[in-house]
Symmetry: D5
Subunit: 96 residues, 10 copies
Amino acid sequence: MLFRVEMTVNLPASMTRAEASDIKQRERDYSHRLQREGKWRHLWRIVGSYANISIFDVRDAEELHELLSALPLYSYMQINVQALCRHPSSVYDDDR
Amino acid sequence: MLFRVEMTVNLPASMTRAEASDIKQRERDYSHRLQREGKWRHLWRIVGSYANISIFDVRDAEELHELLSALPLYSYMQINVQALCRHPSSVYDDDR
Amino acid sequence: MLFRVEMTVNLPASMTRAEASDIKQRERDYSHRLQREGKWRHLWRIVGSYANISIFDVRDAEELHELLSALPLYSYMQINVQALCRHPSSVYDDDR
Amino acid sequence: MLFRVEMTVNLPASMTRAEASDIKQRERDYSHRLQREGKWRHLWRIVGSYANISIFDVRDAEELHELLSALPLYSYMQINVQALCRHPSSVYDDDR
Amino acid sequence: MLFRVEMTVNLPASMTRAEASDIKQRERDYSHRLQREGKWRHLWRIVGSYANISIFDVRDAEELHELLSALPLYSYMQINVQALCRHPSSVYDDDR
Amino acid sequence: MLFRVEMTVNLPASMTRAEASDIKQRERDYSHRLQREGKWRHLWRIVGSYANISIFDVRDAEELHELLSALPLYSYMQINVQALCRHPSSVYDDDR
Amino acid sequence: MLFRVEMTVNLPASMTRAEASDIKQRERDYSHRLQREGKWRHLWRIVGSYANISIFDVRDAEELHELLSALPLYSYMQINVQALCRHPSSVYDDDR
Amino acid sequence: MLFRVEMTVNLPASMTRAEASDIKQRERDYSHRLQREGKWRHLWRIVGSYANISIFDVRDAEELHELLSALPLYSYMQINVQALCRHPSSVYDDDR
Amino acid sequence: MLFRVEMTVNLPASMTRAEASDIKQRERDYSHRLQREGKWRHLWRIVGSYANISIFDVRDAEELHELLSALPLYSYMQINVQALCRHPSSVYDDDR
Amino acid sequence: MLFRVEMTVNLPASMTRAEASDIKQRERDYSHRLQREGKWRHLWRIVGSYANISIFDVRDAEELHELLSALPLYSYMQINVQALCRHPSSVYDDDR
């Protein structure tokens, strides 16, 4: 099942450069793993913002929440989720 | 170049059932053609709404506007466009 | 899978009293059927508004969209959908 | 009487991990108690957010405010309350 | 139980002067009756708007919805409802 | 002259429990005095929020601003003011 | 007592040119009269909009509502009112 | 040329009482000077808020920005600017 | 003096194709004239919308309002105006 | 390809005057370079705000994001980006 997810990151001013670098590296590793597993199907940067638009392909909302709440940056993100379904005019097999 | 496009349709109450049926058929045909040409890369239905979220892959904003303004339903849509770019953590070759 | 759905109805001024009465009756019948099938799990009126808050229990977003778009009042509603999941502090077996 | 309540939690950055763990445990205990007493009738997690949607069944607004303002996390929450009433199409006895 | 209710009226352009005059008279009569019965406790005009702020004193949300949905102008109003409760600093006996 | 006033309190995280307790006590005393003088005509708690809805009866906007800006919690409040006037359908002598 | 008033005009499409011309003339006459009487103290056009920002000097909210609701264009306006008072740094005698 | 300017002040919690007192005094002096020079034509307090509505009369936007950015409180203000022009119904010579 | 102007067009459904074609032609001619006179300095289409972003270079707000209110499409537009001034980091002579 | 970019700066209260002075100087130098290279085509100050409206002329969204994210003030800015295209009524060769 597909979800559009929009994440906006706000790192606290008190976070040191080393902490920020470490947490971003762990975020990247985690994101790579979910992408390779086929759960995080698309990932785009919003131009000019520390934010992304993503498409997740998961079993259900339960699994999506588990994956999102395990993001290393989870506490520093505002996340917006929207359930998607197949569009009757879509010709793509994987847009569902 | 990639754009996220969100289209919400509002057909006027005065449109007859036949007119609506005809314009939706032309919209579907046009959409199929753009999808086959690779310009309309993704197309999802927003659950519970006469609306979609799409990803367009076009040469530039000029081409996007030409494609969108030629939509049969263009006069009855509210369209929101957001420029995307490659996310540094994306592992996908076609997310750009 | 659970969804919170909020529906607000706006009947067009041009609809006759008989048409309104008929479509509301069909809406009620359809709603009763979905409730008896266990798909429409809760249905509350928002005080002072021609609107409701509902909980749907469906297979996935695909099924939810099918059910909602078949509502007799669908063309006259603004619908807002939010995916829910189990809360770790919930003691209820059916809140999932 | 039924109320839809939406709670969004924002823990201050200055709160230690131990303090957070303690207050969350007390919140869970308190929530369990209200659920067992039948006052907190439903409790769902909003996907991707440190937030919930709940249904409370209380004598009146006075009792609801007492229950909410006694939540251990009360000072760290934004709470939105909406009065509900029975929907004429509802078939459920307890949706009131 | 007390509720703050805000009503904003939008009469359709197609309503004749006679129809408007008639419906307003019925609205006034109905309002007078509810005020005399002690259900509609306060009623103020918002300066410069065809709108009011009211305080209702009713048994519960069920009764409030019955009273509001029977307003002659109900179909032409946008209504916003907020549950109130006693303020710990209030010295008034009837502010509850 | 009547005003609807809505006050929402945000105490800074740095305020100690003793300071909070002291300022709230002074707020209560001040509020009691204004209520007894007939200037602060109504005071209700908004359910689930550290906020109130009030009705002030003052000579003019000048006096209202003097009273509000002397509130002990004034620096920690967001205040919204709306001028009211007599509603033609009101039967109450003191709703003006 | 001073109020900032913002009026935005929306003439219905069905109004004929002659009707519009007539109602605007009556609006202008009425406005001139209130200005000469010192009640409508300032009147500015918002650039690029069929809207104005005004300062009214009236006895109280009651009088303001009487003056505004007698505007020939009243039914076609959205009006926003804000109570003003003397600023402690103002050097002007008539800014109160 | 006339501008409506709305300023809302937010002093940081870390500012000492002496600093606040000093900066407010300098703000007042600066404001008095601009009023005497005829640049700051009106200055009203918004009731219940640490905010004002002002009318500036300046050569152009360049001069307005110079005057505003030199306000002692400038770093602590949110400022909203709107260009005004003469209203065709105004009878006042200085409302332009 | 420079202004950013944003115009969004909404043609009424009742306008015939011939009327629309005629008014758009007059709009284009008028726009060309203002551009050649150097008053309408920039004109861009917002992608996917019947809207534009423009930069006007005029004597003052008075002249801007005259030019905008003479647009053939003026009655069918929502117009938003923002005063600009020279940015201290700009290297361009005509960005003022 | 053209983009309208709006940047609003919020320097943290903890930044020293020397740090602020240094980062602003680097911002200015960087801005000058991009303007001389023809990438940052226009730069205006929004009157009364620490904010600007800019027009960028870049190869695509990828290049725009690289340029913006390299701004010395990038971490302290809220940035809003809108893709532009040629307006059919524009007479300017460089408005594309």
